[in-house]
């Protein structure tokens, strides 16, 4: 696997839109990586104007690894739409990290801002830090949110986690803000810490696991029973709630299928 290392040497005056930082673009470009276009507002610049670039890309996305270093808190769209290969971000990154990603792996050693993993279809997004709002959510107006792949956040996540989720898995090591799996029709969300309120609002199908407290339970979720489960390597007894009872649901073999919310029962 060939490796390209990008080190930010100049901070943009406003924000940098760098959707070219992806193994797909690097592997497929015929010219210099430094000449790839990036944008600050309406102005187009070269990637090389902002980053020191070393190493070279592989011939395929899968054979390409990108390491991005420095303070990237004003850089958007890193790893957008990537299908294979690897991206490592050493530092905090701004919005849309791994948005619409289809494959490959992104590791962020830092925090990310909102809209990470928007409309994700596959691959793995690992954030060793905190994530902002709309992690693994659908893009505005799209009713097909995350359909596959796996997102792991070691820290906290913001609000609107996994909105319109259809598949895939999100694991949050810390706490989450309001609105989890709103409108979800599939997928799994595991929250190791506490949740605030509005879990599974308007949820059709899918699963949410919460290890900590839930401040306010949705009125549309009804307690069914306690079950013993192994979730993400941890065994425990979980209280199963089903809902959202107010939302539409389909039937399978005459049985109504609901969204499932499991909360760890602590002795």
């Amino acid at each position: 696997m060939e490796t390209v290392t990008l080190t930010i040497i100049k901070q943009p005056e406003l924000y940098l839109e760098a959707d070219c930082i992806s193994p797909d673009v690097f592997a497929e470009t015929t010219g210099e990586i430094a000449d790839l276009p990036v944008y600050v507002g309406r102005e187009q610049h070269r990637l090389g104007d902002f980053f020191e670039i070393s190493g070279r890309a592989g011939t395929t996305p899968a054979g390409t690894k990108i390491i991005v270093k420095g303070d990237l808190s004003r850089v958007k769209y890193i790893g957008m739409k990537m299908t294979a290969g690897e991206v490592v971000i050493d530092g905090n990154a701004d919005m849309y990290v791994g948005a619409w990603m289809q494959g490959g792996k992104i590791t962020v050693n830092g925090d990310v801002d909102a809209f990470a993993g928007t409309g994700m279809k596959g691959g793995e997004l690992r954030i060793n830090g905190n994530a902002g709002n709309y992690l693994g959510s659908a893009y505005r107006g799209d009713w097909r949110g995350m359909t596959g792949g796996r997102i792991v956040v070691t820290g906290d996540a913001g609000s609107d986690l996994g909105t319109f989720m259809n598949g895939g898995e999100i694991v949050v090591g810390g706490n989450v803000d309001v609105h989890v799996a709103t409108h979800a029709e599939g997928g799994t969300i595991i929250i190791k810490g506490d949740a605030k309120s509005r879990l599974g609002g308007q949820m059709v199908e899918g699963e949410i696991y919460v290890f900590g407290d839930i401040d306010v339970m949705m009125p549309g979720f009804a307690y069914r029973k306690d079950v013993d489960l192994e979730v993400d390597g941890a065994k425990g007894r979980f209280a199963l709630y089903e809902g959202d009872l107010g939302e539409r649901h389909r039937k399978r073999k005459g049985q109504m299928i609901y969204g499932k919310l499991y909360q760890l029962v602590r002795p």
Partner: protein, 437 residues
Amino acid sequence: MTKTVTDVICPFCGTLCDDLEVVVSKDGKNLLEVYNACAIGAEKFLQSQAKDRHTRPRMRQEDGSWKEISYDEAIEYTAKMLADAKKPLMYGWSSTNCEAQAVGSEIGEYVGAVMDNTATVCHGTSLIAVQDIGIPSCTLGEVKNRADRILFWGCNPAHAHPRHMSRYSIFPRGFFTGKGHTGRKMIVVDPRVTDTARIADVHLQIEQGRDYELLDALRVAFKGEQLPDVVAGIPKEKIYEVAETLKSGRFAIIFFGMGVTQSLGKNHNIDAAIAVTRDLNEYTKAAIMPMRGHYNVTGSGQVWGWQFGFPFAVDLSRGFARYNPGETTSNDLLRRGEVDAVFVLGSDPGAHFPFSSVKKIYGLPSVAVEPHETPTTEVCKVHVPVAFVGIEVGGCAYRMDNVPIETRKVVDAPEGMMTDEEFLTHVLARVKEIKGV
């Protein structure tokens, strides 16, 4: 000698009352009296006659004082500011006519601006919800003639839309609502005992920030499923009772305001309210409508809807329209430092935005196009006073139910003053010159 102009449109709130009578001097230069309008609407008409009104642009000087400049100088400053900026914010657009909004949009395209209107801190969240799940709505005429279950959620029309209840929603006798308010059931959901709540048949005094839960509870109640004993501070018996009241009507309408659009959950609250409306249509006819604030905020959404495909927060910086509230909304842009110039027309972010955003406006090249002296004109570098739309110049405006109404000119603007549209047309011409297009 005076003359009376009838059927005047009121350019204040989204109710856009169209039955005002205005008395003007015979030469049409002075506005003397206003009839039929609410206190706020009448005040807006009379304010145009203020003796201390600014009639020429002014520019902030180094020492903080204002210097009067010509319209030409203001046009030059504005055009250069917009053309030089990498990503200017063009905000406001709600207290002006659609004609001016269209010219403004053209400027936005040439300079790669982010176009945002007051919905960004108001009903923009409703628009997000509409995009997510659609909206079953109607016109205010249908409400007047048919609605017998009126639900006001997080809004206080008694003060914010003073003639809404008397013209459309509660008191009028319509074609199928001959008994007026006695034939209607009025429900108000509000954590406070507002003047609207005081006249309601049922007031659900909800716990602050629990609207989403209560809306969800209503949906559960419609389906006859079990509820917890208390939701959002309301006992479940009450919720079942209100659900039954709504289901038993011939036509239910939900009006909602900033109590739900800008409290916890924002677009999700409206999303759930629309779902409630959709559910109600299983049992009766139901519709839902946002209580739009500025008289033509709906119009700016319409204009951008047909020009860009999005009703607010449109980012044109890359040459194509992008829209993602949370990123392309004014406060996020200002707070994060994503824009380098601010142009405000027909709105008052100085009064409505958080202080942290207003401070950012203060630190940037900025222009406010505004008939009044406002907190925004105080923080901007250039203030361009213009004629009042709907009083000194006509033009199209959209009512809260998306009905376009042509506003009327009733009195002349002070000598030599420009209208929004004239000013913008000159700026557009100058921007094109600078850009060489």
